[in-house]
Symmetry: C2
Subunit: 466 residues, 2 copies
Amino acid sequence: MTILFSRFTTRLIFLLFCASFSRAEAQDEDALMIRKIHEEALANGKAYSWLTTLCTQHGGRIAGSDAYLGAANFGRQILGSLPGVQAALQDCDASYWKRGPKEEVFIVKADGSRMRLRALSLGNSVGTGGQEIKAEVVEVKNLDEVEALGKEGIKGKIVFFNRPMDPAQIRTFSAYGGAVDQRVYGPSKASEYGAVAALVRSMTTKTDTFPHTGVTVYKDQVVPVPGIAIATADAELLSEALKTGAVTVSLKTDCQVMGLRPAPTVVGEWKGTSHAEEIILVGGHLDSWDVGQGAHDDGSGCMQSVEVLRILQSVGYQPKRTLRCVLFSNEENGLAGGRTYAEKSTEAGEFHLAAIESDAGGFSPRGFSFESDTSKFKMYYKKVSNWLPLLESYGIAFETGGSGADIGPLKTQKGLLIGLRPDSQRYFDFHHTEDDRIENVNQRELSLGAAAMASLVYLIDKYGLK
Amino acid sequence: MTILFSRFTTRLIFLLFCASFSRAEAQDEDALMIRKIHEEALANGKAYSWLTTLCTQHGGRIAGSDAYLGAANFGRQILGSLPGVQAALQDCDASYWKRGPKEEVFIVKADGSRMRLRALSLGNSVGTGGQEIKAEVVEVKNLDEVEALGKEGIKGKIVFFNRPMDPAQIRTFSAYGGAVDQRVYGPSKASEYGAVAALVRSMTTKTDTFPHTGVTVYKDQVVPVPGIAIATADAELLSEALKTGAVTVSLKTDCQVMGLRPAPTVVGEWKGTSHAEEIILVGGHLDSWDVGQGAHDDGSGCMQSVEVLRILQSVGYQPKRTLRCVLFSNEENGLAGGRTYAEKSTEAGEFHLAAIESDAGGFSPRGFSFESDTSKFKMYYKKVSNWLPLLESYGIAFETGGSGADIGPLKTQKGLLIGLRPDSQRYFDFHHTEDDRIENVNQRELSLGAAAMASLVYLIDKYGLK
């Protein structure tokens, strides 16, 4: 075949050559930028020292508490310290639940002697008002068993939900998803059948001595009864005791729902130069449970999100789109922060092109999970998948799936919602316990999560999602 | 186009269909087996409880010590408890180095007051025989600086090697590789130029208060001088003090090399049914430094290796090839175990088709690294790469690169050498310190490493490497 080049063909080939050349060049430039982002995070990172302050000065920051207000001011302060970032508090009211000083759960033996169980009232649970509730225990593995036992089996008793998280699941969040209905709906279901209280096996695959709290929700019309988590080691012990005969438990708590309180969400905005109307959000939730310091859940995600802006500034990147760092309020007990933020944003006619949430702990990043409530999702996912080779050498994989609770309400804006997916093996060792503390966060792992987020923000900002 | 099938074509299509069907079926079978392996490791794993015994009963098991002999017996016992596994001790002599009870390093101030530095003699170092050495300190960043300062700058002084591990490296082992020459060769180099001792900044990216020991090696003909690691926090402090003027350090140690002692390697063998002459080895090193419990380094790798055999038995797999679990002696201080094992194996005409070492901590597995000293390596790597889709969903990636120190001497047998690559971010928080303890190993992470190894052993055994 004779090859004849027309002037048009020659020009086309030249253009194709240039395009492929500039694509290669752009990839080199991107690889270099992503390398710089990671080096900045590891060598000069601030996330860990900010998190140390957040944990030690504003630990146990349940939304509505004074500790939460302190944390919100701290969040605004560090965001505001970044050049060109406007930081503000967004009004939000949250239902404030308060644990009382007394929480006692005992197995009462036949001879009257008592054995204490390590216990924590569930968030949002009613208390006993300091009065003793003493009743026989009935163990169940799931909500259906309560229905099956019916009022005759349940009435006047304490229902003990004792289905373990499945340790054989590779992803601990899947195991959590398969067990947490007992905590969220167990006490309400027990009450429907006349129970006087509910004990719930703590949500962890470990056999340990930490009770893990977390939210419980009562159905409308149901008379709330106390819901209390007990440590898995004590759940085993109680279950063993039940094999030998009837067991009576005595409990006293004095937690209560205090009503609505101010619990502002913190918003830091860094305006884009040319597509300022498209927002790229990074965030986590600033509130935690009242026990521990909320280090992994979710101080880590918040401080990583602030760090994303700091890193991009440090490496000299100037975003075209508007970058927003949002530290949401009240994720643990109602999601008021996420809902309010999305509502106000949509009212204001804003568009979030992308939102990345980090709320799975400050562990080594393993990837991102993507979702969107639009037919454009295929296009979005194809676009981001092009960038995977740039991130793979940092141990990052992509998958489709859930993103984050706080950014969930932004779905209606039809942008791309993204969850950072860190290694999940240790998360439920600490989740919602006294042990969720800064000592259990590794600085390098935390920093790498921030670097992964910053890298993705850089790529989305630079190339968009079309 | 009319389609006409000859009988030959029809037959070919049928065969292709069968082949692709059976390949798909085999893949399903493999996926199922790998799932079972992971579930067994997570739900019924023994590695963590064995590791707890090894750490708490036989911690600080430097080769040649009584603790090491206890560990070797324990290793033989658990291997021997597995049905069909022949467990034995393989004779090996190791140079036994012993830390004395006194180790003191002080900064001596102008007014005579002393400030203690957290210090540990380096393994294999000579001591001061309990006598005080007191001298001015000269700080250097590398071995070349010692040469540049020459005898006039070094003679009579204590050389302080203070080049930090580079925190900006993504992989901590790369950062270690870039700094550890100071520890291994620093004291010897300092002595060549007339120094009376050497202090070495501990090998970790963290600023912490744990001195990290590790081997030092003296060149032949060099008069050995004491080599001592100091905690990074104290290295910073000493370096700051040196900025304001001359600093004198006083030190006393009484460690010594005790000569050769028995330190057997533990070998457990599970004979294959049809290709018994091809050996697949899994292993780690049983010795540790004398401080801490040798939990991550390398109790984890040893107990994972025993666990590989247990898991495969539990899921009902019968290997065609011979599986060997080897718990090597003396990796930390001479590699006598690895060398002796390879020598005896080669003398006996054995062939290790593959050897997998786990010696990078009991953290979440991220992949495997492959190497081989043969032109067959391309074929090997192509073969294993076919299996990657089966392991990717467990977060496993493949790469070419180093395997493990203990299996290194097997290279001459021309098989495939493989290193388990766990997440490396936390490794140097604990490495060679008092803090390398069972409390810092996560059971699920440890188990997943064993499951990844067992999965790869299963695939190599089932399909070979041709």
